[in-house]
Amino acid sequence: MTIRILLLSILFVVLSLLSLLTGSVWISPSEIYEALTNPQLNVVNHFIFTQLRLSKTIAAIVVGMGLPISGLMMQTLYRNPLAGPFVLGISSGASLGVALFVFAGSSLLALSPWLLSLGLGFFAILGAFLVMLLVLTVSISIRNSASLLVVGIMVGSLSTALVSVMQYYSSPQLLQRFVVWTFGSLGGIHWNEIIVMTLVVSFSIVFSFGLMKSMNALMINEDYAKGLGIKVNYLKIKMIVLSSLMAGIITAYAGPIAFIGVAIPHLARNFIHTSDHRKTLPIVLLLGSNMMLICDLISQLPGGTTVLPINSVTALFGAPIVIWIVIKNRSFLNS
């Protein structure tokens, strides 16, 4: 366990540095040092590093930590290895919130960047939270795990359909803004958005560390958890709020990013052969951020000047993992 954490931490440092150095142009460590110590003499490098690189790397780390923790909580809450922000339609709910906000009117464009960012985040979180509540309500009457996933996918389709209707009636200018957002991107996130996202995700992660013990009991059996003095209803509300906060704010600023939320918790459990949240939580954080940094590096297409949408890269990694989960859990999912 300790060795694994150490290895993942070393990998994390290496990948973070690589992510800072690579992009459409390669900036060597000495050039970065020059740019930071003498901004006036290296205006271009200084701009690239502070306005693009640093924010991109931080975004990759925050997304890579937040989405998988959110997915882990959903998998525990629904006792379903296939649950995740994207699969259950939570990300779609967040998209709907964003669409409502973006299409609400051109007058919003006049808002200050800070208010715009906060509004975007708030509506995305609200959308995520409402979908999460809806899916949870349905899950009370439907115990079958496959049906739950179908409900999640349907709720997602519903949100997408509503968004399409809104797109149809919106102005070309707003439409473009929204379509660019749906591609998902780690680059080009404003600094104020990076700050809000980092604060929200860090708060949620710190808070979720306090729930690790109770989540173990909740996952094993709800009634036993009650018997151990755990206030199960409060715990569930906390988990819903925290996972919606993370999935919502990340979707708001980085766009809908698929598969990371569902795949990473599963990889983590397999990596350390336990579902004990006290052990999986730190591993999920490290594995998730490493995976996002790798996806980011791949999306830069080394040597090329174009950037692949991050959503496609995560799907390339994530979709095979989800298929693997289905095959591995076939007996369970059939029940």
């Binding site: 006792r79 290895p81 560390f209 306090g210 690790m212 013990k213 173990n216 009991a217 996952m219 094993i220 059996n221 009634d223 036993y224 009650k226 018997g227 151990l228 003095g229 755990i230 459990r269 052969h273 336990t274 579902s275 004990d276 006290r278 369970f332």
Partner: protein, 325 residues
């Protein structure tokens, strides 16, 4: 007195109507006692357990644990073992048993050497110490039940409540689990309350029986309950009778055909031959000449029917003959 209920009513309450299953229950449970709660399906046994475990609210009345109201009692007042399955993929047996220590550990669940010792002792008392590092989902039903009992022991509560701890188990495991609970009530001087449908095992092992019917709960020592006929009344039906010689409930055979059984053999072969005859609907009538069964030895049976004589080497032969003639 570990557990005491005062004028307790139990049942389910929906929005504006409630269904009361039992009312005015005044139950008392002493430490060191194994108590079996028996009764027909649907009479409210599981509801009573769930109410005692705070999983559903009582409709009326009060529950006290060690003289303290259950509402304000700590989570280490009672431990439960339920019929529902557990979802413990990726947890070891040790992990599941250590749930019992959750009320005692800090926010991250850090266990002291003392906690680990208690968990190991709990696993040893139910004989699953060797399974500690196995995956909890790979255990057999009997081992899973032992694991949950170990979890309850690790909670170190004065009272353990179990809902049908022997359902889904084979006969050997049923006997072992009930015997284990009997031992635990003695060794750890705990009060143990279980719902069970294993009437014979309950009679043999429990210190007290609670018989639940539509009319309420009868409490007493199982032997007393049999002596004054209260236990028999629970299962009033033509299908079942209480066998006073063997002290257990059995099927009430419809006996219509006479047979004369003569035996030169030891007890077991004779008893089994008698049981077979009952199953086939025969009653014994000494001196009945038309149909006679004679045990010549432990391996030879001779049937004399209408002056013809047939010999058989096993009871299957006897059975075939009697069914077809």
């Amino acid at each position: 007195m570990i557990l005491e209920t005062k004028n307790l009513s139990i049942g389910y309450s929906a929005k504006n109507k409630s269904k009361i299953l039992q009312s005015s229950l005044n139950l008392k449970l002493k430490s060191g006692n194994l108590v079996s709660l028996v009764g027909p399906n649907g009479v409210g046994k599981s509801t009573l357990l769930k109410t005692l475990c705070k999983l559903i609210r009582p409709i009326e009345g009060e529950i006290c644990i060690k003289g303290e109201s259950l509402e304000s009692a700590e989570s280490n007042a009672l431990a439960m073992v339920l019929t529902q399955g557990i979802y413990a993929h990726g947890f070891t047996v040790f992990d599941v048993v250590s749930l019992g220590r959750y009320p005692y550990t800090n926010w991250i669940g850090k266990m002291t050497a003392h906690d680990v010792q208690i968990i190991e002792n709990a696993m040893a008392s139910v004989h699953i110490g060797h399974l500690a590092h196995q995956s909890a989902m790979q255990l057999s039903d009997g081992e899973k039940q032992r694991m949950m009992i170990a979890k309850a022991l690790a909670q170190e509560t004065p009272l353990i409540i179990l809902d049908e701890p022997t359902s889904h188990l084979d006969l050997v495991n049923k006997i072992e689990i009930i015997h284990l609970l009997h031992q635990l009530s003695r060794q750890h001087s705990k009060a143990i309350l279980m719902v069970t449908h294993e009437l014979d095992l309950a009679i043999q092992n429990s210190d007290e029986m609670w018989i639940m019917s539509q009319e309420g709960i009868q409490m007493g020592c199982p032997e007393d309950l049999i002596l004054d006929g209260r236990l028999q009344r629970l299962f009033q039906s033509n299908q079942i009778v209480f066998n006073q010689d063997q002290l257990h409930f059995q099927r009430n055979h419809l006996l219509s055909k006479p047979i004369w059984m003569k035996s030169n053999s030891d007890g077991l072969a004779e008893k089994l031959s008698f049981q077979l005859l009952q199953k086939l609907g025969y009653y014994l009538e000494a001196g009945y000449k038309d149909c006679q069964l004679e045990l010549l030895s432990n391996q030879t049976w001779q049937i004399t029917k209408n002056n013809s004589v047939f010999q058989f080497e096993n009871l299957a032969g006897v059975q075939d003959f009697l069914r077809n003639n």
